[in-house]
Symmetry: C3
Subunit: 338 residues, 3 copies
Amino acid sequence: MSEKPPIAHLIRLHDLPEQDVDDLLDLSSRIKRRPGGFQLNGKSVGMLFFRGSLRTRASFEAAMQQLGGHSINLNASSDFWELETTVGGRMDGKSPEHVKDAAAVLSRYVNVLAIRPALGGQSWAIDRRDEDIQSWARYAEVPVINMESALWHPLQSLADLLTLRETLGPLRKKKLAIVWTNSPTPASSAVTNSLLLSAARAGMDVRVAHPSGYELDDEVLSSAAHIAEIAGTTVETGLSAKDAVSGAHVVYARSWQGIEDYGNPTLSASRRARERGWMIDEALMRQGADAKLMHAMPVRRNLEVTDEVFDGARSLIYAQAENRLHTQKAVLVKFNRT
Amino acid sequence: MSEKPPIAHLIRLHDLPEQDVDDLLDLSSRIKRRPGGFQLNGKSVGMLFFRGSLRTRASFEAAMQQLGGHSINLNASSDFWELETTVGGRMDGKSPEHVKDAAAVLSRYVNVLAIRPALGGQSWAIDRRDEDIQSWARYAEVPVINMESALWHPLQSLADLLTLRETLGPLRKKKLAIVWTNSPTPASSAVTNSLLLSAARAGMDVRVAHPSGYELDDEVLSSAAHIAEIAGTTVETGLSAKDAVSGAHVVYARSWQGIEDYGNPTLSASRRARERGWMIDEALMRQGADAKLMHAMPVRRNLEVTDEVFDGARSLIYAQAENRLHTQKAVLVKFNRT
Amino acid sequence: MSEKPPIAHLIRLHDLPEQDVDDLLDLSSRIKRRPGGFQLNGKSVGMLFFRGSLRTRASFEAAMQQLGGHSINLNASSDFWELETTVGGRMDGKSPEHVKDAAAVLSRYVNVLAIRPALGGQSWAIDRRDEDIQSWARYAEVPVINMESALWHPLQSLADLLTLRETLGPLRKKKLAIVWTNSPTPASSAVTNSLLLSAARAGMDVRVAHPSGYELDDEVLSSAAHIAEIAGTTVETGLSAKDAVSGAHVVYARSWQGIEDYGNPTLSASRRARERGWMIDEALMRQGADAKLMHAMPVRRNLEVTDEVFDGARSLIYAQAENRLHTQKAVLVKFNRT
């Protein structure tokens, strides 16, 4: 009697063999050219949102529908409830159900589960453990797709990689500048973290610019350095915007929360007030090598990026957002219980 | 090299050529007789609700599904966020995304966008500009359908026109009475405005009854007068209920907010308290010419209309609500990116 | 000219002839073996949730999708509003629409309506009337399916009966113990009530254990006694857990609210605090005859049931939850307007 093979989840993109990522991108391109060519008739994806979403939700649902399948959307706020993740405890608190049980049951109703977990937002030391998404992957009996946890956003990175390939051709030795931008509602560093590792593994030279106090997570940086070494490329962080963008082929704008002031809105706001200069404008872009602009959206115009750059010929933003649709179709084709 | 043709949106029904409205109604009737005859397989509509809805949401979603397509439902409260409409501003306020960007991105995921914008509810001078729905139409790259803005409700008017045609045959010179009714939760004047212009253009004699202080928007009244002149018919407003209903073939009950007390709930409530007599009952209906009753729903029974009239032989209410389904199918067939 | 036949609703399972319940279970088994064999292409179900749901919503929506149909989900909190049920009243209160009108209109858009009504939660004397679900059944022009009212949960009972049949074979003279369990968020007695009557009618010996103060509704108990008499079996209530489980083939754990402290959270909490011993553990289970465990979920682990029992070989929980999917497909096939 043979053991069941482990279920393939998509929690962090760099957990996949490099060849699998390339295959996903190739499949994405084929689907983009011929949208009708892949069918998931009768399959369904359960989408659980513990935080709001516009792009991810709309693109994921459209992807599934256009492949012939269905999505079941469950919103933690209006449709159900908080889930317990602690193992072995006496559940006499707020959560009426354990993620183990929710995952096991939903696995019997759908072919794949896509999860956007909540963020505690109080402590980076806690949130960085990504316990919720790990719990779903541990207990689900169908593939689990991470729709952005505290640390990782594999779906965004896939769309980013496809956009970079379409724009630059082979990525090896191409220069990517990731530049922190100012926003009153910074995201977690998930998009940045996933991009940093994905771009390095693809052989890009990656330079990250950010003000002091916005350093990325230590373990993420170690992983990035390790991956860069294997790929024979470089990752530099803590640069000024100008130094990072100099000679870059692509500038990726992103606002992320500082680890030191994580969970401290007052400190966070006062620090940010000192960094109003971190906006991408044409003068900065001219430091690059015919540099293009990317952004995972939503974008705060004229605060993160000027209208001139955002609406101009350098901008890949909408093409990048569209690629969410195509790459997520590829993910759904590859990650579902047959 | 040819320019892209402009995208056909459905924001106000009277922006369409008269022949196009007739064609939509003819198509609605054909679809009603043979529901299976029109297919939108693989197409999807993005429905964005910035305000609640029962009838519009259910009928629109059912329409798309029965045509073979899919709907993606996004609720501003639970699924995403407020959108910025100001052009060129520094976005450091509450809204994390500009409608320009949301519209551009969603246009890449779906074939048509249906929007129910929020109402400010504070100032009629501001709300009457219909800025949100205009912004969606300006920036979307697929057809935009107005699911009721502050000023206009084209989908309701289409269902109203179909119901009127089914009941009265040719509409020219038929008499329509629109009668204000009392409700603690009055709607905007959108349904009334759209009906006034649509019925006049169809050649109906339209009489509007309302208490003093509930006059319709000046520009709407000018447009109505202009349209009536072209159509060789008449529009009268400010009548008593009895004068309006006298000889009418159809009585259309509707509660709308007064412009003078718009955004002032205290004044609004005290004024309304003086107008408790504005309820449609059998005695009033007998002033008409075998008059039928219409209402866009939801209806407050025995406050706006007596049960006797609402549940009696005069009532077209449910047929009218059903026609939302058939007319919206026609709209979806005509307004989608091919 | 013939009268229209009455519409078949599913409000209480024991309103169906016994043969119909058996047929539903047989159909469920066939669908479970061959999921692709039954089609509801182009049909749609309107699902209205006036309370949250995870399992019911996901399994019902998946059931409809896998049969080729569509579901339209309406949430009372985010999508629409409270509905009036009083007949003939002047609707000048909070509810802007009568259930009569909502039911009539939605009946024109979909083939079947599935309703999870709100619970007042203040008075058992009021809630036990099940007025909301009765109103939907009275006014709808398509079949209405009860997705759990204050008194009854027919969909859960169907899944329970299928699970019992799969586990025990013929149910006659098999012993079922329903055991109250401690939870800070007890459910209504709907699951227990429906199971009690369904199991008795199937010929099972049913014993119910609960602390003093948690007696079931008098009329439910009368009906159960009456049904048991006809079926030639027995129903005993008010037992200790040990007495109920002794010799039982299946132990069904369920927490329900006491009638005496219904709507009184302070009294409810203080009573419950005295009953911490009401947890299912291995020692209790050993009193049965190779007893299996069932639970309608969500379950509070190590408060209602120990992990050891819940995750062990006795547990039928996940199979039971999966059977929601198969039995609801059978319900949708049988209860829809053709």
